[in-house]
Symmetry: none
Subunit: 418 residues, 2 copies
């Protein structure tokens, strides 16, 4: 079947009231884009069955086998009375709600585990393990409510998934993508990406993209997204070699600043070489450690961390000299060096990252402005290096950029040593 | 005029491709909600003039003086060739683009400041200082492009604003709100919310919502969202007292499980009482410390943390006894107690939270399954308490629930002591 016109729909009154932010639509559109399908619009609707029904009907109405429509909807599959998706889709497809055996068993097992008190709630909870009789189940391996895939009219397909991001993401990848790929041709696109650290979108466009012929003549397209501490550059084309060429050209230009997905690459690098790592953090408050332990199995390379938010903890636990703190201040190259070196010693690691800076909005001085940070990298047998950065961002972004950049700085030193 | 049916529209191909996240719509809906207008849907469209025109036409078509429509649109007002808003609105309202004198002067003044080269760029930039002849200007006091307010047909109003959040926010508050309030009656809605910890959406509905008459007869509406470790319950009504009554009834039923926004309330509680806090974390890997330092000024009450991911760090830095670890294991009540007590001592804090558990997917045993966690709370002068929880969630969710719940447990103990 031809590539579909895609609409991504999120439902939830907390979304249209502005109390919650819809992050699902953009994630889904980005994934679909990677698979070669482009999205025509997003629609966000409150938990109102009439509105949802009217919009679905309207979106499906233009579809035919030649000009198909794909609607990817999240939300409204929970157990409560403001969850209307099942009811609406049953009505639109003249189906009945039927219990899905697999989801039912899973629900019972989960409720049994959680003990008594949950037995009573089981009756309400059962509501969410049904799907329309004329639909294909999308199994939920993370949470409880299954999703489903229905044909609203010839050529109009609707996928319904839970609104909880972790459940939706897994269901999308494991269950929905195969159905979409079976049903629709994609543009047969190849794509690849890389990270460029410490780079801005506009500088990259000005310095690099403008000079690339294959991007001007439309043989390949590019995309760039500003992330925390890096930009993520994507190239896409029907020609696989062209994509690889563009990746190589970018690497030639930016060399050490380029990595793959650092959050995959760096842990793999550490495990393979049996290196252990710890962090001594001040302004990031444990965020670098949190990122390093996001992955299962991180105890293989990550041993621990001290969050020395107060100066007394820098002295008493980490062992930074009082004189160093007094002479140079907590936010200084000298303190960053002692934090990294003592950190490796007290944590018993091969590698240690130290971070000390001013996240703001308060705490800045005329000589050390809010946004100043020193990142130290201790590598056993090597002299410790400290990088001073000035990142004048708001508190939250500052902390994210600093934590991610500290991992990049360590990784980039290490890979040069190999 | 009656309250309008509101649609919030964002345009931008970077949004529908999933490369950028639309944050404007939810901000606008939240502001409108606060003014008493509720939003019916969000629409996100690419920079495609035909699609934008068709959608605007369609949305305006149902409007009348009795049943008015308000469309609030952001994006597409810039100087580049993919900015189509002005063109589309001129077409829909049979207007011409006319230069706005105030915006034009502002642009010239800005370009003069930037110096030479401005003449060449000015021609392109001029495009963005025009508005449709049949419209009211919305001045831009932050950036360059003015917005505008047009009537597409009787009862159908369209406000167009720039997509840059800082420009949009100021324009919305200073220029658009007075126009909206002059044109439409608002619904005067009141709402309030609370958190209930360790509660599921379905249990809450079963146990509580079902028995409340005012929610059955529609005098008030409720909403619930499952968050990490708690549910967020919202009540809304035209009658302020009714909302307060519902909040009070919920508190009576759930008592100690209820808090306001814990992430605001708990830090405020600590600052006001000049209490200091630290964490000793294992499975959460620094996440509790990260959450505690999310807020500016957290150094007032948060002193630091040890992430004792490895057992050696539990022994050497925290001082958990080797015998305790050998006899009971790292994930045990006994270890949690020593982590909390020694934690308070080495960090020099009044309060310490300890967290030790199995985030999985690996590391479980027949007696200690993945999802088991012990959370210790040390309060100076009180016996340390440990709560064992079993939270069979995936790694990421498990860590978020555990970190948030640990703050709740500490807060709940403290507020009972006051």
């Amino acid at each position: 079947m031809n590539p579909p016109r895609v609409t991504v729909i999120s439902t939830g009154s907390e979304l249209t009231a502005g109390r919650s932010q819809d992050t699902n639509s953009s994630w889904i559109a980005n994934e679909l884009f990677g698979l070669g399908y482009s999205t025509e619009k997003f629609l966000v609707l409150p938990d109102d069955p009439k509105l949802i029904r009217d919009e679905l009907k309207n979106l499906a109405s233009g579809a035919s086998k030649e000009s198909p429509v794909l609607l990817v909807m999240t939300g409204g599959l929970g157990p409560t009375e403001d969850d209307y998706t099942l009811e609406v889709v049953c009505e639109l497809t003249s189906s009945k709600a039927v219990l899905n055996a697999k989801a039912h068993d899973r629900l019972q097992a989960l409720y049994r585990l959680r003990g008594k008190g949950f037995q009573e709630a089981l009756i309400t909870a059962l509501r969410q393990v049904s799907i329309p009789s004329n639909s294909t189940v999308l199994n939920n391996s993370v949470g409880i409510a299954p999703g489903f895939w229905s044909e609203l009219q010839p050529g109009a397909y609707l996928a319904c998934m839970p609104g909880v991001p972790s459940e939706m993401v897994t269901m999308f990848k494991e269950e929905l993508v195969p159905l979409i790929q079976k049903q629709f041709q994609s543009g047969e696109l190849y794509s690849d990406f890389l990270f460029i650290w410490g780079m801005s979108e506009s500088l990259f466009q000005q310095e690099f993209i403008k000079g690339i012929e294959t991007l001007k003549n439309g043989k390949a397209v590019w995309g760039v997204a500003a992330k925390k501490g890096f930009i993520r550059v994507t190239y896409q084309s029907g020609d696989k070699n062209l994509v690889q060429e563009l990746i190589e050209k970018t690497k030639e230009k930016y060399r050490g600043l380029c990595t793959g997905d650092l959050f995959e690459e760096f842990p793999k690098f550490l495990s393979e070489r049996k290196l252990t790592l710890g962090t001594i953090e001040s302004c990031t408050g444990g965020l670098a450690a949190k990122i390093l332990t996001d992955r299962a199995g991180s105890s293989e390379y990550f041993l621990g961390s001290v969050v020395s938010y107060s100066n007394l903890i820098k002295e008493n636990i980490v062992g930074v000299k009082k004189e160093t703190l007094e002479a140079h201040g907590a936010v200084s190259e000298e303190t960053a060096i002692e934090m990294a070196d003592n950190g490796a010693r007290i944590l018993g690691t091969d590698l240690a990252i130290s971070i000390t800076g001013i996240a703001g909005p308060g705490g800045g001085t005329p000589t050390k402005k809010v946004g100043t940070v020193f990142i130290g990298t201790h590598i056993k047998g090597q002299p410790t290096e400290v990088k001073e950065l000035f990142l004048p961002f708001k508190r939250e972004l500052f902390r994210e950029v600093v934590a991610a950049t500290s991992l990049y700085l360590m990784y980039n030193r290490l890979r040069k040593l190999v």
